[in-house]
């Protein structure tokens, strides 16, 4: 029987290596391209008609736009709307990656820490650079807690700096853990169906029922984790623009 972790294996399709760096085109890269193509097709096909009363596809695109725009306005304020293209791209890419991962036999690239960590570090560096660009040295007042007694500052400032610097870790680990954990659990329970059902057909139904429930649950997680990643990016953006 296949291992439940086999689904996470990165397989090179076109081996490419530059010097000692392995740049092979893998199944992970393939599904990222598929995700980008799917989002591109969705938005392009959805906005082709400009109907006053939107059709199905146009509704999906309009809903996604309003959802992300509302999220950005609520969490980063009006000034945050300038960065809408970035946030929308991020949300659609992660959402599409998570959703494509629900297709049996496909590859979930968001279940790899290196992918989510790279996205989180990119967000972190971008937001920090933006904060320094907007506020100059004043940006570092973000690390001085307001209303704290002076004597406590030598302890509080390192804690604040550290809590700022571990943001990419928690941001990436959250997405990766949820995607990997959920997919592993689904495979484990699906494996029980065969293992149990081969001998006793009736008890084999129970893991099947659980797998059905887990599949639904995974769709919720796929959406929710894309939402959480994006919402936290908006909040970090808010910190960089408004300094609390």
């Amino acid at each position: 029987m296949a291992s439940p972790l086999e689904q996470f294996q990165v397989k090179p399709y076109v081996p490419i290596s530059v010097g000692h760096v392995d740049l092979s085109f893998t199944n992970s890269a393939l599904w990222m391209l598929v995700a980008v193509a799917a989002v591109y097709w969705l938005v392009m096909a959805g906005t082709r008609q400009h109907a006053l009363v939107p059709g199905r596809l146009q509704s999906v695109v309009e809903l996604s736009y309003e959802f992300v725009a509302g999220m950005l306005r609520d969490n980063a304020g009006k000034e945050g709307m300038r960065y809408f293209p970035l946030i929308f791209t991020l949300f659609m890419f992660i959402l599409m990656g998570n959703m494509l991962g629900m297709i049996p036999g496909s590859f979930t690239f968001t279940s790899h820490i290196i992918v989510t960590f790279f996205m989180a570090v990119a967000v972190f560096i971008g937001v920090t650079a933006l904060g320094i660009y907007l506020h100059g040295a004043h940006f570092f007042s973000l690390f001085v807690p307001k209303g704290a007694p002076k004597a406590m500052l030598p302890v509080l400032i390192p804690i604040e700096i550290l809590s700022y610097c571990v943001r990419p870790i928690s941001l990436s680990v959250r997405l990766f853990v949820n995607m990997m954990g959920g997919h592993t659990m689904m495979k484990v329970f699906a494996g029980f169906i065969g293992a149990l059902g081969a001998y006793f057909v009736i008890p084999g139904i129970f893991p099947l029922l659980i797998t059905v429930a887990l599949t639904g649950f995974e769709f919720v997680v796929a959406f929710l984790q894309a939402y959480i990643f994006t919402v936290l990016t908006c909040i970090y953006l808010h910190d960089a623009i408004h300094l609390h």
């Binding site: 804690i159 809590s163 571990v166 928690s170 929710l224």
Partner: protein, 109 residues
């Protein structure tokens, strides 16, 4: 009412939309009255990840500094404590944000 196939005029569209939206919001607020705490299992998991990230980040930084400066285990201990503090701070902020978000309003409901 007479049968009329023409769509309703657009002149009062804004007013009608505003009225509908207000009604929707009112209904949602009333429903929220009996709602439970906005925190759930997921928020606990989030807070846990924040804390672990804080400790792990602190440990990693301390270990790297020690390896670089050869002061093992000084920075490992210092940054473990600071990282734990940072993790708790992040967990606290995340929980506060989640509970404020839940009790204020549902943005997409």
């Amino acid at each position: 009412m007479t049968q009329d196939d023409r769509p309703p005029p657009f002149s009062d569209f804004d007013a009608r939309l505003k009225r509908l939206r207000a009604g929707e919001k009112g209904a949602a607020d009333e429903e929220k009255e009996g709602a439970r705490s906005p925190l759930n299992f997921g928020s606990g998991l989030q807070a846990g990840i924040e804390m672990i990230a804080g400790v792990a980040g602190g440990l990693l930084l301390g270990w790297a500094l020690d390896a670089w400066l050869g002061t093992r285990p000084l920075f490992l201990i210092v940054f473990f404590v600071l990282g734990a503090g940072a993790g708790m701070l992040n967990a606290f902020r995340s929980l506060r944000r989640l509970s404020a978000e839940g009790s204020k309003k549902d943005p997409d409901a």
